[in-house]
Amino acid sequence: MKQRSISFNWMAVAFVLAIAMIIPFVLEKHPYYVHIFILVFLFGYLSTAWGLVGQSGQLSFGHAVFVGLGGYTSTILFMDYGVTPWVGMFAGAIVATLFGLIIGYPTLRLRGPYFALSTLVFGLILQTYVVNTQMLGPINLRGAMGLLLPLKNGGDAPAVFQFATKTPYYFIALAMMVSVVLLSYLLNRTRIGSYWTAIRSDQEAAESLGINAGRYRLLAFLLSCALTALGGTLWAQYFHYINAERGMALSLSIEIVLVGVVGGWQTVSGPMIGAMIIIPISELLRAQLGGGFAGLHTLIYGLILMGVILWLPKGLNPLVMRGLKWLGDRLWSTSPSVRTPEDSGR
């Protein structure tokens, strides 16, 4: 992405955003489709936040826990202490960062799969605990019941992050996804991003140059935890409900991983593209097939995951980018130079 492409790429981004701006008004009569868009943005957000860990060369299999921690913190603060979720979401981010420190500090120094396995196990511990615990000291966790968000003014109270229609949620989710992708993009252009790339490509070489791999991995992980927790609050506010059985589940962690990997983990825009592809497929399959073919859509997920890993190790991101490039060159055929598609893969 250099020279000419910059203005062109930003134009394309602005164009897509402009379309995204009018979608909820066009689809006003079809809330279900708006719902799918919100899910796409939510998972695009969560997977991009998850992808920060991937950029430092590690794989987290417990990210659902941070969704749950964010959602639980803000919702409990709202239900029992009257704190608005707009503030609570940042409290959730802090709580998630602290938990991230507990799991990340000892494991990110280790090589190999220990981090991936530890995050998975950590997720199971926390989920099992929350499902089976009514009270944690003075905090009312409500066990397996989960947290049902009390609606204020019938769910029409912007001051406490509750809206009557889907449109505000749509824009909040969109804004969050765009911000996190932008953040990831900008981080990639700083020194930290270069360190991540170096650690990911060859940890030994990076360390021999004096980069503290453990520290920069921890930084990526903690940032990712905090951002994921913010998404957890959005989750709880949008669904008006969060429970550990779903909101901290291994299956949710795997869904976040799947979206990220199919789009292209270790790339900036990959997880977002993954969400745009995976989420509609799953929603439509679920709606079309329903209970008749239990397991079919997860089976298809698994096949997609295997296919991408085997044949497209960088995910669908480079493919989509190449397609967009081709389209762009067709539309703006006057452009003098053409960058190689690989450049835009990052």
């Binding site: 799969p113 991936a116 530890s118 998975l120 196990v121 991983v257 085997l310």
Partner: protein
């Protein structure tokens, strides 16, 4: 109180035998080939379904079905390694070393197998009913179900058999060499990928052996795989990567901890406890109890 404790201890050992037999197979795959085999539990599930259908359709006794299921599992494991994982390993040479790719591949395979079973066999719990299913030995206040005792004995035999194979045979030497240093083993003239595939097949065969022996007292259902796979990871890491006796010991330990711990605290707290053991091992002693390979 003492009686309760002793019964809990015995029950724990019996459950531990089950854990161990699943973990021993994984120990080969995880410890030697370094594949985070997410699908390990699904391989167990598949072999148990095979045993179940052999019994259901043709009335073949689960213990007898071992002769059919184990070779099939070996071929299946060999095939998975040869056709799915080997291309990933070969790519690693040219690209960055990325063992996480294989992990994700196996996670995908697990989704395919578990949901394939759900699609074709439905979510019903299937069980084999055999005449000796409820037979038990009574020793004073203790009641020991024979089928579970058999599984414990099998797990001990498999562990010792595999240890013998690894330390005393040509193939075992090859497997250990490949596990220690892939490049050096290749330079010594070993066909690394063939040995990997044999190891994977062997791991699956051991698991299938245990799976058939579990059938007389254990339900089969499509979602049984992942929880058992995770438990096996815990056991393998606890026992030490690449150590077969370690896996046996750790399996028995986890079984006893859960069973005895369950006498004092709730069952969920006991299962959380075994997960916490895993984190402690990873944090403070990544080598595990009897680790032979450095982390």
């Amino acid at each position: 109180m003492a009686e309760t404790l002793i019964s809990a201890l015995v029950a724990g050992l019996l459950v531990g035998g089950l854990y161990a037999v699943v973990a021993i197979g994984l120990s080969l795959i995880f410890g030697i080939i370094r594949v985070i085999n997410f699908a390990h539990g699904s391989f167990l599930m598949a072999s148990m379904y095979a045993g179940f259908w052999l019994w259901h359709l043709w009335g073949i006794d689960p213990y007898l079905s071992i002769i059919i299921v184990v070779p099939l599992a070996f071929l299946g494991g060999y095939g998975v390694q040869h056709f799915l994982i080997r291309p990933m390993f070969q790519r690693e040479r040219t690209y960055v070393v990325e063992p996480l790719g294989v992990l994700l591949l196996m996670a995908g395979l697990d989704m395919v197998m578990a949901n394939g079973a759900l699609l074709f066999f439905k979510s019903d719990f299937r069980a084999v009913t055999v005449l000796y299913g409820s037979a038990a030995i009574r020793l004073g206040f203790l009641t020991i179900p024979i089928t579970r005792l058999v599984l414990l004995v099998i797990s001990v035999f498999l562990a010792f058999g595999l240890s013998w194979l690894l330390s005393r045979t040509e193939l075992g030497n090859g497997i250990r060499a490949v596990g220690q240093n892939r490049e050096a083993a290749a330079l010594c003239g070993l066909n690394v990928y063939h040995i990997f595939a044999l190891t994977f097949g062997l791991g699956c065969a051991v698991t299938a052996f245990g799976g058939c022996a579990m059938l007389p007292f254990y339900f089969v259902d499509p979602s049984m795989g992942l929880p058992l796979a995770i438990k096996s990871f815990i056991i393998v890491v606890l026992g030490g990567l690449g150590s077969i006796p370690g896996a046996l010991l750790a399996g028995l330990m986890i079984g006893v901890v859960e069973s005895v711990g369950g006498q004092f605290v709730t069952a969920t707290s006991a299962s959380i406890f075994s997960l916490i053991i895993f984190l402690f091992i990873v944090f403070f002693r990544p080598k595990g109890l009897m680790g032979v390979l450095e982390a």
